[in-house]
Symmetry: C2
Subunit: 314 residues, 2 copies
């Protein structure tokens, strides 16, 4: 059987399940692999991006660098971690201009520095297609680690930022819409802001019960969080935060539910701790944790959210 | 200017020099990036391999997995470190057989377990060309870290294993030589043995003054070690350890001096500590540290070793 027949998530599950490991959590189970290290946990994550899938022609090399680091920092953020270091491997066509590489590195460095970390090393390789791989090392105090498991019935479901923006940016590029709208959306797509500071603050607040980042869309993330926590959710359609510019691209819920690339945080908060969470992080409450299915409430009517979203090999 | 005009080493230097970092050493300066972590140093390294350059057709997927992990462990070994965890990003064509991926993972896992570590996580991505990236996290006690700098005049230059074997294996595949010779050589090429245990033992011995791994050939490694330590070397031609099978492919010094892919350790030992080093590690003394050039002595005559070897983009 070919991998395109089973899809990326099944491949990752298959690999994770085949690997014995002594980590507290493997990256198949959560956003990062988690290793016990004295009073702390070390967090390790790796992400591969490449031209044809991840870097549209309108993206400048600085943004390629920024995004390559940002997606890793988002994984560290998703567990409440503080980034320690980034390393990168660049696969570059031999006829790449040196200035192009310089700009990628500048973007990587800018993003790393913005979140108080550094690019400490890497590798380069000759490659037909531009490929960037970054790995991020982070750490978190043991009692502050936020996992995908931990959501309790009655907890409030929250997100940072707005949803569907990145997918709207992707679609906007091939649509006839005002240029300023396209610019706002593609900037969010090309320069995703990892929620490092929010993740750390939420972890320290002590009122968050589970967390992950929304890299492949809200729907798939709810299914991941639900599976790890063994819970369900009721999401309120009216509460999902969406930029006005996203509504210009598509007014329905397709983009915020199923679009990838937002890198916002999805987390659950004890209902008696929601004010504390609000004090440390700009958030939107979009629903609550239940014992049942993963549902959306539209005009008072419940329906099941489909388990689909952004996935490679499919 | 295109990157092929300046080559991989110049690119890496350029990137390293452009990056401010708070690491003790960046990976541009040594085999791993080194981060201060209480009484220890954390070591981080990343390596990208791909089909057209690194995985000849005769290599089976298990070996692709093994090699992908081994090259990373070799970097950790080169600093005297103990591996903590491996993460991997796999770029896979969508029509890859699942069994092929399973075998890669099995090879990765086998290599990791052989050296007391684990694959703790990763990422997959759809990619035209099979690409594997591994990152290894390691640690070493502060007083045991072995750097490229540190060689002193009069120290003995040593290596583990034999040199030129991997390059001989590469050439053997297109030569008309006995099959058993080709098999011995290609096994060394396809399944490089990272010198993790040797690296740790040498670091603990307290008599090693500098160390690195020989991934791009002895010549380039001597230049790297010489530059970092600000020293020269006299290497004795007769002492370079070479397998008989390598001599079948080529009887001169081209392979052991300039061939890549061996992943042996190159290190310098205080002359009064050589017995101690020999007690903890099978090694060969190939020369000594000087204040001058990087020279080879053949039949009593000195000549300069050329600064060339395995390099991408050139």
């Amino acid at each position: 059987m070919k991998i395109r027949e089973i899809g990326e998530r099944a491949i990752i599950d298959r690999i994770s399940n085949s690997l014995p490991h002594n980590a507290v959590l493997s990256a198949g189970e959560d956003d990062c692999a988690v290793m016990d290290w004295g009073g702390n946990y070390l967090l390790l994550t790796i992400d591969m991006l490449h031209k044809s899938t991840d870097f549209p022609d309108k993206m400048v090399p600085w943004q390629i660098g920024w995004m390559s680091v940002a997606v890793n920092l988002s994984d560290i953020a998703a567990m409440g971690g503080c980034p320690i270091a980034i390393a990168t491997a660049l696969g570059l066509p031999a006829d790449t201009e040196i200035s192009f590489v310089d700009e990628i590195i500048e973007g990587m460095n800018f993003c790393a520095r913005m979140f108080s970390t550094n690019i400490v090393g890497g590798d380069t390789d000759e490659h037909d297609e531009l490929t960037t791989v970054c790995t991020a090392l982070g750490c978190v105090k043991k009692n502050e680690l936020l996992r995908r498991s931990g959501a309790q019935i009655g907890d409030l479901v929250c997100v940072t930022g707005e949803l569907g923006t990145a997918e709207a940016g992707l679609q906007a590029m091939s649509m006839d819409i005002p240029e300023y709208v396209e610019k706002i959306l593609t900037k969010k797509l090309f320069e995703p802001r990892p929620r490092v500071n929010e993740g750390i603050a939420l972890a320290k607040s002590g009122v968050v019960t589970s967390m992950m980042d929304i890299s492949d869309g809200l729907a798939l993330s709810l299914y991941d969080l639900g599976k790890s926590s063994n819970k369900g959710f009721i999401i309120d359609e009216d509460k999902i935060p969406i930029l006005d510019e996203t509504m210009v691209v598509s007014p329905d819920l397709e983009l915020p539910l199923y679009g990838g690339g937002d890198f916002e945080l999805l987390f659950t908060v004890r209902s008696d701790g929601i004010e504390k969470a609000k004090n440390v992080c700009k958030l939107t409450i979009i629903g609550e944790v239940t014992s049942g299915d993963i549902l959306i409430k539209r005009s008072g009517v419940m329906s099941k959210i489909a388990a689909r979203g952004h996935e490679h090999f499919s």
